[in-house]
Symmetry: C2
């Protein structure tokens, strides 16, 4: 499933306008303006990725995910469908959003705050690296699905187009630093770089990280090699 | 009220032993060992400070706080007494711990996660700087107390003895950086230095910050000018 043809993101427009203005005024461009693409730092709230089979188990035979909101990465969406997560101590998180399209593995991404409220410990992992992680029970309108593993806290990471990777001087699998300004200014030292020609420059941090650094509109962010 | 005579904190003992070992072995001391005191980074969970009058309003005439657990800073303690915080949308936080001894102002310190769950916005402030901040309703076993202001997220800060301030080259009111290692390695860029001869070296971060950086026993921390 592909996202529909849409307007460029407002940050992409702003970035293009800024570059044009510096060119017109013949002024030296700051590094952030010189970058091939604007830097978006988005908050990844708790969510899960499911296989097509898991979706059918939870929502009924033949059911597929319905896009509710398209995300910044092409083709990625928050689905209409939510599930309930039941933790090891029978505490639950309701309305856990499913992100589509379906993957070939099941994975739940929580913040530490979530795992503490559920009463279990989860490791920090890169997406897809779920071997030996805790499992959980998922409940949907059509049934239950027990995950033997797959509950993680996703490490902060950056999606980069090869042009971005060249600009920031980083290879896929290496780490970048993300500096967030404002009153709670902090620098994330280990932001995993994931490079693909299908990616647009975007950093994902979780809700704990966003709350810690007070990420909000207008807070300056900078990506450093 | 003073904390009772107690054993030195295990980190103080470990620090003294480390220094002795380096001296005995005649090896150059790493910076962390050379420091006059060990660096403790502690998590400050949501709590409040109250005036003696507020304690009486909430717990009854003549009532005083009862120390439950002594904190690292001399004379500071978590009290037996807890209160209920009622936010602007009638959502509550139960068992909000009071830290003693009493202050000459009322102040509630929450993490952003707490304020989001209560449904209101709070600013990041240094302790005591509460002018123009949101208020809330407090409920105790003997009565209610409406705070017109005083709900903040406390900025990360470091308590330093003058010896520590000299070692790290910082003055009271200036900022230090705190580098936290491990898999979620990050650097807090604005850690307010508070210097007093009554202080022992200790950094306080809140639960959002601790969850973001994965602070746990064994995670290396370093204070930088």
């Amino acid at each position: 499933m592909q996202s529909p043809a849409v307007m460029p993101h407002r940050e992409e427009i702003a970035h293009a306008v800024r570059r044009l203005l510096y060119q017109k005024l013949d002024r030296p461009m700051p590094r952030t303006v010189k970058a091939p693409h604007p830097l978006l730092v988005n908050i990844s709230a708790r969510h899960c990725h499911l296989t097509p089979k898991a979706v059918e188990t939870l929502f009924g035979a033949g059911r597929q995910l319905t896009p509710k909101k398209w995300l910044y990465q092409d083709g990625q969406y928050a689905a209409e469908e939510c599930i309930t997560l039941i933790g090891p101590r029978s505490r639950v998180i309701s309305n856990l959003r499913i992100l589509g399209p379906c993957r070939d593995f099941n994975q739940v991404e929580l913040a530490f705050t979530d795992s503490i409220s559920l009463g279990f410990e989860i490791p920090v992992r890169n997406s897809g690296d779920i071997k030996g992680t805790p499992g959980c029970m998922l409940m949907g309108p059509a049934g239950f699905l027990e995950l033997p593993e797959g509950v993680i806290r996703a490490a902060p990471h950056a999606h980069l187009h090869p042009d971005d990777a060249a600009f920031y001087g980083v290879k896929s699998g290496a780490y970048l630093r993300l500096r967030v300004g404002g009153p709670c200014s902090m620098t994330f030292d280990r932001v995993l770089a994931r490079v693909s020609k299908d990616f647009k420059l975007e950093v994902h941090i979780d809700t704990d990280e966003a709350n810690a650094c007070g990420l909000a509109p207008g807070v300056q962010c900078e990506l450093l090699a």
